[in-house]
């Protein structure tokens, strides 16, 4: 605890303690629903409540049976595989396209900058359900509904705005003279990009890519519209699991996801 300055009276001190209390309470409120899932996923009973045995810390009340159940279920294994495959490729597509777009938009010669930026960012603003419905009708014409490439493209479109925003933010501090210096020293624009520009905007690219991956990994609305049974992802599997057979398997998956993101 930091020492209070000498001029503090009891009101100042009370204020500080109140601030700390409310900050801690707000944090707790936010994190509680997530934390409560962790012990419940080790429940030996198929319920979402703390049993008497669990509260008594009885070892028999805890088990790993729901984790075993994930491994035994081909549906869950497929969902996990799909989530990673779609997430991986959607992230690559979104990162490459988003970075190129951000670099282009940072150029002084770019016409219609505002309109193009607005278009690129629209997937972040337009309600997901509208995008999903639109994509569904659009995809049917190209036979992309119910295919992995279709989902990769859809999730990449959702991820691009994040990459554009983070890369644009790092490009603000980028001195254009560095790019010109690269050209004047004899490397062509592509090589100059990889040798000079990219290393300097890498932090933005990486955080954009992380956002894009998480977006794809969490996404359920587009998947509900566009995926067939073979393209089920983790969120999709959880969603249907919640409706059909409620048991702590979902909690076990959630706990694993929390572990992954930490």
């Amino acid at each position: 605890m930091a020492e209070f300055p000498a001029y503090y009276n009891w009101k100042h001190k009370a204020g500080i303690y109140m601030l700390r209390f409310w900050a801690a309470a707000a944090l707790l409120f936010l994190i509680m629903p997530i934390l409560v899932m962790v012990p419940l996923s080790f429940n030996s009973q198929p319920y979402f409540t703390f049993t008497e045995g669990m509260l008594a810390l009885d070892a028999k009340a805890y088990s790993l049976r729901w984790y075993q159940k994930i491994l035994d279920s081909p549906n869950w294994i497929l969902a996990i595989k799909n989530s990673f495959i779609i997430g991986f490729f959607a992230t690559i597509v979104a990162t490459v396209l988003g970075t190129v777009a951000a670099v282009g938009l940072a150029s002084a010669h770019m016409p219609f900058k505002r309109i193009i930026t607005a278009l690129l960012l629209s997937p972040m603003i337009v309600p997901l359900i509208i995008i999903a419905a639109g994509m569904f009708f659009f995809y049917t014409r190209f036979g992309l509904v119910g295919t992995l490439p279709g989902l990769v493209i859809a999730h990449a479109a959702l991820g691009i705005p994040f990459v554009v925003v983070t890369v644009t933010a790092t490009l603000v501090g980028f001195d254009r003279a560095l790019y010109n210096a690269g050209l004047s020293l004899g490397t062509n624009p592509v090589r100059t990009f990889f040798e000079v520009v990219f290393p300097l905007i890498r932090p933005g690219v990486i955080s954009g890519a992380l956002f894009a991956f998480v977006t794809s990994f969490d996404e359920v609305v587009l998947v509900l519209f566009l995926a067939g049974p073979d393209q089920r992802t983790i969120p999709r599997q959880m969603f249907s699991g919640l409706r059909e057979q409620i048991n702590p398997t979902i909690l076990a998956v959630a706990t694993l996801l929390i572990l992954l993101s930490v």
């Binding site: 210096a181 004047s184 020293l185 004899g186 062509n188 000079v196």
Partner: protein
Amino acid sequence: MTRSNGQDAGSTFAGSETGFLRFVDVKKSYDRKTLVVNGFSLDVAKGEFITLLGPSGSGKTTILMLLAGFESVTGGDIEIDGVPVTRIAPYDRNIGVVFQNYALFPHMTISENLAYPLRARKMGRQAIASLVEEYLSLVELDGFANRFPAQLSGGQRQRVALARALIFEPALVLMDEPLGALDKKLREQMQFEITRLHQKLGFTVIYVTHDQTEALTMSDRIAVFNDGVVQQCASPDELYERPRNAFVANFIGENNMLPGEVVETVGAKVRVSVANGKEITARLADVSSAGAPCRISVRPEKMFIKTDRTGYDNEIPAKFIVQHYVGDFIRYYFELDDGTEVTVKLLNDLDAPKLGQGEIAGLMWQASDCYAFNTD
């Protein structure tokens, strides 16, 4: 030598080849409305040190951008060795550029920065290493190879930028206010350094600055820019001694400007009445018709305060106001009959007169040391 816009005869530079670099009526507009550069023509000989001098926004940096290929010309042409640069990509032009803020690659060490243009040219590892070492010692930075630019002082970064622009031995080197960010002492040191390297390696320099002292001390020729047009292009002494118009006279060095009226022109001289009807003789610059208003420019160090010396073409009385003691010289401030303020700069020696406030003294100067310019 092709004589073109704003170019004077009698350049002091004795280059072996003329026409190494040619600007032919170059125009540049960023918005298709206003011309930043409006008809720039210049012939540069191989090995010449040319300075583009002008106030900020006068279009001088734009010339460098066009030459380096970061911007494209709106009109006219630039030729290097007879080849129009518009046909060569910026990365194939082989021009060394020293940027205003050095533009060193912050994620590379000093030696990696220097190796960059050599790697681009696919040189062998051994050759690169030895060249990097050679150029590091050329700019007196031995032992700094593995530092990053952020770990160097301004002057050291400047040296690295210089070495990086020279290491691939370009025939042409552009410098965009390279010393602008340095303090006065370092700047003088670097001026000396650049001149030394220029003489040693013999490359051609196009140097951009708004600092006239820098321009005067380093250049073979100076092109004075204003409003996108070259006002005058000549050797430093010619610019200083024989400015072509009032802008050049005022921009280079200090000048007294006396308003007057043309009485008559006699050959290359002109009779002008100044300060309530006192007639003086001046050199004809860009005024012609009798009766036209004009400005007479005389440098403070070319004026003298009347003692027993004679033999000066012009003399007018002036009221002494105050003097400033500067050390090696003394500045005297006077006022003419019509209220014009005049500065006289005299060496601080035994001849320097002592004047009382309000005393009337005669100011004298040679007709060859003053010019009559158009008022505009």
